[in-house]
Amino acid sequence: MPKEYKTPKLDELEKGPWPSFVTEIKLAAKEKEMCNDLLGVLERSYNERIGHWKHGGIVGVMGYGGGVIGRYIDVPEEFPNISHFHTIRVNMPTGWFYTSEALRTLCDIWDRHGSGLTNMHGSTGDIIFLGTTTDELEPTFSELTQAGFDLGGSGSDVRTPSACCGPARCEWACYDTLKACYDVTMKYQDELHRPAFPYKWKFKFSGCPNDCVAAIARADISVIGTWRDAIKVDAAEVKNYADAGMDIFNDVVLNCPAKCMKFDHESKTLEIDNADCRRCMHCINAMPKALRPGDDKGATILIGAKAPIVEGALLSSVLIPFLNIDDEEEREDWFDLIEEMQDVWCEEGKNRERVGEFIQRVGMGNFLEAVGVEPIPEMVAYPRDNPYIFFETDEEEEE
């Protein structure tokens, strides 16, 4: 008979309209003693206000250095069924699209080999299989690969790339986010499964400047869709929005960061000075039936975002203002540049130093020089405002 845990504190979290994770764990606990013990230790954490998980150990599947996060409990004698409770990261289908059949396949595998608990999904985007024993790792992996799935990244490797739904279900996608993400994922399989970098390296693909996968805040390489030509305007639909009561002057024109729009109240026409447009998306977001990104579409490539650990949080900054990433040739050149950047970072980067922090340390100018990219004004919010310039003396001239 499984132990019966009283969980008065957790039970409080089954109340209220938002779906309850406690209810989910209880559902899984009907099938698995592991999940019953998880309820027990979690109630204890709620009473003691402290976690009971220990630092991960090194566990994994043969030949891979990532994809499994070791997890052990600090009170195994009390909760023996979760003395090991490792996480498996499974690379999600790009854009998080599934068929019912694929979902059931994943459930079948996980019910056979683990807790039956998941995260749909982890923050980076992987399917998270939450909790199994060391012995079950290899059999889980074997069944996953037979079913066409593979592990995601962890540790100092290429982390599982992610993309917004893109052209599959969004009119604003300025490039094929799903294809770009999938191709990058396939290209970097070795780097994804075998950590060989100073620290993690993330790719994220957003189809437009709304950036639904938060690429600019989280990815070492942020790929954000944009366009170069004029915003497409459907004048009749602009008029329809105005007639329907939209305050186009206050809500659209005054919110334009470039102040590049004029609205004529009489004729209900919108005029855009596209040369000044910054491609922020606000007007298009506000009037999706009337305004659309242009036809000359591609992506802005930015580099270096990360969360605070170690030296402080960074947003990505512009590396390539416009790249036609759907074009095979341009994409190959871009892959070459990425390889160049990774080489420099691997050579010179310190342990646990993300590429953004590396650039902060060595200087963006030096980094660009090392990877063979010319500095351009698009890369800076403003030029240097201090006079501490490292002028480089021309050695030949001095001789």
């Binding site: 998941t118 995260n119 037979q146 969004c170 805040a217």
Partner: protein
């Protein structure tokens, strides 16, 4: 096992996404014309071909049992030709070309505990981390706090109450920020507030001391011999409790029931719409962990949401509203105390000081 070993597959990557796309999506891939929000939690995408695709977005706790995923699979089969997806913020989405299926989808999903909402100027699911459910470095729980906050803000999820613009909330249970919460309209961040307790007897056996010293952003960790064995010492006044040392060395735990808690940050965004992406800024430095329902946290977040909703202009996100009216207004209207902790003292701190005479005088009285 032997058979499995023989045909062992590696580096196959994820299954190709194309096989998972709904036929209507495949047909209209890259050919969508516009979309409209039909009702809270429901939108329709219209293609150049005239095809329509309805999406019902529902709440998810993110932590899901296979039992629930199978229920989702069944519902997708019944109403969505066997297709569904999840969003970057962990919502579940059910898509169908058949408008008549929308009401039934909403009803059946609600019946298994998943209400529709979270589209447009609404509060949607909270991106979050593992917390006490599965993490070694958590300074608070994740799923529990999220559940309490979303229960409390539910009327902003299901559309009963309107908001000026989008509001993205995220939670990370420690400074590692697996949830990358640092650019959220409202960020809930678990924090430690006491230095690590050093396990001198075991440290040298399980950790590399040079790596450990190098892990400290403020160089507060120095090699030292303690009781005759190699270990480290922590310069206490330089420690800001980031726990990076604990990440590289298990012999440096910081977790503590009384000194761990939650900080609240506001005004970040990742979208480029209107204003450039920006970091969240500190609103409340520390709230003690008060499980199971964290009432002080839910109240603080409700205060932020209500003050913003009452005062912002259409489309203005929290950070954009504060940029316009100034931080003195934010602190006055929320009633949050402004303290020493709010003034930055890390690298480049001076950039956050008020370096102009643009000041509102609070409170303004006619």
């Amino acid at each position: 096992m032997a058979d499995a070993m023989q045909e062992r597959l590696t580096d196959i990557g994820p299954p190709n996404y194309e096989q998972f796309l709904h036929p209507v999506i495949k047909k209209n891939y890259g050919q969508w014309k516009y979309h409209e929000i039909v009702e809270p939690g429901v939108m329709v995408h219209v293609a150049e071909s005239g095809d329509e695709l309805y999406t019902v977005r529902v709440a998810s706790p993110r932590l899901m049992s296979t039992t629930k995923i199978r229920q989702f699979a069944d519902i997708a089969e019944k109403y969505c030709d066997g297709h569904m997806r999840f969003t970057s913020r962990h919502n579940a989405e059910f898509m169908t070309p058949n408008k008549g299926n929308v009401a039934k989808l909403k009803e059946e999903l609600l019946a298994i505990g998943h209400p529709a909402g979270g589209i447009g100027p609404a509060i949607t699911s909270i991106v979050h981390t593992q917390g006490w459910v599965h993490c070694h470095s958590a300074a608070t729980d994740a799923s529990g706090v999220v559940k309490c906050v979303m229960d409390d803000l539910f009327e902003y999820f299901n559309g009963e109450k309107k908001l000026p613009g989008k509001c993205r909330i995220a939670l990370a249970c420690c400074l590692n920020m697996c949830g990358a919460v640092h650019c959220s309209d409202i960020a809930i961040l678990g924090v430690h507030t006491k230095p690590p307790r050093i396990d001198h007897a075991n440290l040298n056996k399980i950790c590399e001391i040079p790596n450990l010293s190098a892990s400290c952003p403020t160089a507060a960790i120095r090699p030292a011999t303690v009781n005759g064995v190699p270990s480290v010492e922590v310069i206490q006044e330089n420690c800001m409790f980031c726990a990076n040392c604990y990440t590289v060395c298990p012999a440096m735990p910081l977790n503590d029931p009384d000194s761990d808690g939650i900080s609240i940050w506001v005004g970040g965004k990742v979208s480029n719409a209107r204003s450039e992406p920006k970091f969240s800024k500190l609103a409340i430095p520390f709230i003690p962990n008060n499980p199971p329902r964290w009432p002080e946290v839910t109240e603080a977040i409700r205060t932020i949401v209500e003050v913003w909703a009452d005062n912002a202009r259409p489309y203005e996100r929290i950070g954009e509203w504060i940029d316009r009216v100034g931080w003195p207004r934010f602190f006055r209207l929320t009633g949050f105390e402004f303290k020493k902790e709010h003034v930055d003292d890390f690298k480049h701190a001076g950039l956050s000081f008020k370096r102009s005479a643009h000041i509102t005088h609070e409170p303004w009285e006619e």
